[in-house]
């Protein structure tokens, strides 16, 4: 039982990061129906920018650990958002009216470009965040040691998810985003500036990805230029699992994927963990073809 709970927390911590990246995927998908394969690389860029800012600005001299993290997070999110918006402008906007698969190739090209750009700028070796930024305390529950930061990661993801959900559901811009997601043409007729909506989506999604990158850097320490590909794939899986385009779905999918991986590793086989996760995904999709929380739209004929 103790082992089970320990593995559950392990899975939830990893899942929280998947969820955060998946949120960005799902938002972009919801509006553009585009699988932004470069999203994982925006995550990488967030991690590297975080490291650069951390080591050059010397924030630790003025601020306490959480102050540093918050200032850093805001800066990273801002910068990655700009990169994301630029990506949209350059690589996706010209393709908006064409077949959706054309944009997928553009996204893959952008992903290759970003990955190699990071390698050229920062070098191919692992980069490491300073170790002393965050306090390494653990809390004791049920006789378990759970690192505080793991809980914070999970908490941050949940807070961001709820914030995003409220933003989409309650604000005027959110309504515009939802309208554009359903029917861009109709949204235009209603006086919604669809270009602006898409720009906003491409600011928020990448910002969340960047935040996730920073979190991985701060907590795990080690970052490398290829990490975005793996995380991106996992987050995409998570978004699909929850039902792509659906914000709570991305959260549920991310957390569930993290837990499935941890449980698969714990009770079946570590080496087969990813295969197990994919098998579960396939089984779920066979039963629910649009993911766990995805709407089942009966096609109107």
């Amino acid at each position: 039982m103790e082992l089970f709970i320990q593995q559950l927390t392990n899975g939830l911590a990893v899942g929280g990061i998947y969820a955060l990246i998946a949120l960005g995927y799902t938002m972009v998908y919801g509006v553009l129906k585009l699988i932004n394969f470069a999203h994982g690389d925006l995550f990488t860029i967030g991690a590297y920018l975080g490291l650069t800012l951390l080591t050059t600005l010397g924030l630790t001299n003025y601020l306490g650990p959480f102050g540093v993290v918050i200032v850093l997070a805001l800066m990273v999110m801002g910068l990655v958002a700009i990169v994301g918006a630029a990506l949209e402008r350059v690589a996706y906007r010209p393709l908006r009216t064409s077949h959706r698969l054309s944009a997928v190739v553009s996204a893959l090209g952008a992903s290759i470009f970003f990955q190699n750009a990071v390698m050229l700028i920062y070098g191919a070796r692992y980069k490491v965040y300073p170790h002393d930024i965050l306090p390494r305390t653990a809390i004791h529950v049920f006789g378990l040691d759970i690192p505080l930061i793991r809980l914070l990661i999970l908490l941050t993801s949940i807070v961001m998810m709820i914030g995003l959900y409220l933003f989409i559901q309650r604000t005027k811009i959110g309504t515009a985003i939802r309208a554009a997601a359903i029917d861009q043409g109709a949204a235009k007729l209603m006086g919604i500036n669809v270009d602006r909506v898409i720009m906003i989506v491409f600011l928020i999604g990448p910002a969340l990805g960047g935040a996730a990158g920073l979190m991985v850097g701060l907590y795990y320490g080690q970052i490398n230029f290829t990490m975005g590909w793996l995380y991106g794939l996992k987050a995409f899986t998570a978004a699909i699992l929850g039902g792509i385009g659906n914000i709570p779905g991305a959260m549920v999918g991310g957390l569930l994927l993290g837990v499935i991986e941890a449980m698969g590793a714990a009770y079946i086989s570590i080496a087969w963990k990813d295969a197990i996760a994919f098998c579960v995904l396939i089984l779920i999709l066979i039963v629910r073809p649009t993911g766990l929380l995805g709407e089942r739209v009966a096609e109107k004929i």
Binding site: L3, Q6, Q7, N10, G11, A13, V14, N116, M119, G123, A124, R125, Y126, V128, H131, R136, A138, D145, P147, V216, Y220, G221, Q222, N224, T226, M227, L230, E261, A262, A265, A266, S269, I270, A271, K273, D274
Partner: protein, 371 residues
């Protein structure tokens, strides 16, 4: 569209003719891009540094050497292409490469072209068991390391042992070697599994491993994962000793894990130049630091430097660039050549001979101390 094709054609032609005369050409095949790009770029830096030194000292028998580098991308298919490309460029020998599977994909091509290949990081046993005439390597083999691992674990008095690899050809090979020897000796292997490389969170694996209650963990994978394992192990307050294979020999390991988490970590490795007080090793360290303002990365990149040095030595000694003469010299005449990683001689199969492995331990300041 036609312009693109035309441009491509021109580039092809340029690539085909970019060969100058009057020098001794030596190839370097390394993973310059891809997952092992850091190793490959290090290899390139070291080999180029040494070539510059040789040329500055007047070359080999008066002839300058020229290094032609090809990227194998850390991937067998790209490696086969790189090998084809190198073997058409009039080179004498090729240095590299890192991964065993990658080397394997290129071996046959070099052998058919009659080119000497000196691998530097490919430790899989079978590479030198095929009877290829022109294949050699400056790194030791997995079975040698497996034996050293076994001895180290046995002398440590550990009864229940956990073995973790990463399912790469190399790490699995080493894990299997060690496991077989340990089991024959009656040790209790309480855990044997593989992690997925390049992930960031290994706590699920550590939790599972901890439940098996081993006295020691032998991790045969690479330094990146090892660093994270050590760090996360400390976070969960688990004080089990960790032993690593030679792929963990990289100063970045300590950076990733942090000094406190890395302290006490032991690993097996051929000696790095930092730890040798030979004249060659010291001179190399000084030159490397001067040129690149950093310490060299892993020992594998340094071994590519040794590859170049033995080839240069063979050319110098035989006064020839004929592959047959060079191979004969390297395999039979070269005796305890002073390399950057200790003395070098080769056996008939082209494997490096001698007890190469040392046990290292990380001290409280994150320094690798040879035991």
């Amino acid at each position: 569209m036609k312009k693109v094709l035309f441009f491509a054609l021109i580039l092809c032609l340029m690539a085909g003719t970019a060969v100058s005369a009057g020098t001794i050409k030596i190839g370097l095949m390394a993973p310059i891009t891809g997952a092992w790009a850091s190793e490959g770029q290090d290899m390139q830096q070291i080999v180029e540094l040494l070539a510059e030194e040789i040329n500055a000292a007047g070359g080999i028998n008066g002839q300058k050497i020229e290094i032609l580098t090809e990227d194998d991308g850390g991937d067998p298919r790209t490696a086969a292409l790189a090998a084809q490309r190198l073997s058409t460029q009039g080179i004498v020998a090729v240095i590299g490469t890192y991964g065993s599977a990658v080397t394997e994909a290129s071996q046959g091509i070099y052998d058919e072209a009659g080119l000497i290949q000196v691998a530097n990081g490919s430790t899989a046993i079978r590479l030198s068991e095929k009877g290829l005439k022109y294949f050699m390597r400056t790194c030791p083999r997995d079975d040698e390391q497996g034996l050293v691992a076994f001895k180290t674990l046995k002398s440590g008095g550990y009864k229940s042992i956990a073995i973790l690899h990463d399912n790469s050809s190399y790490a699995k090979g080493l894990a299997d070697e060690a496991k077989a020897l340990l089991e024959k000796d009656g040790a209790n292997i309480v855990f044997y599994d593989a992690l997925t490389p390049k992930e960031n969170d290994y706590s699920a694996i550590l939790t599972k491993m901890k439940a098996a209650k081993p006295d020691v963990v032998f991790f045969t994978g690479y330094y990146g994962e090892a660093g994270l394992l050590l760090r996360q192990k400390m976070e969960m307050n688990w004080n089990v000793p960790f032993l690593g294979g030679d792929a963990t020999n990289n100063p970045d390991l300590v950076k990733i894990a942090g000094n406190d988490a890395a302290a006490g970590f032991m690993f097996l490795s051929p000696p790095v130049p930092q730890d040798l007080d030979s004249q060659e090793a010291k001179a190399f360290m000084t030159a490397y630091k001067k040129k690149y303002n950093a310490e060299p990365g892993s020992v594998w990149a340094v071994l590519s430097g040794d590859g170049l040095r033995v080839v240069a030595e063979a050319i110098k000694a035989t006064g020839s660039t004929e592959q047959d003469k060079l191979v004969a010299y390297l395999k039979t005449k070269m005796d305890n050549f002073p390399g950057l990683t200790g003395q070098i001689s080769f056996n008939d199969k082209g494997d490096r001979v001698g007890d190469l492995y040392r046990v290292y331990k990380v001290d409280n300041n994150g320094k690798f101390i040879m035991q």
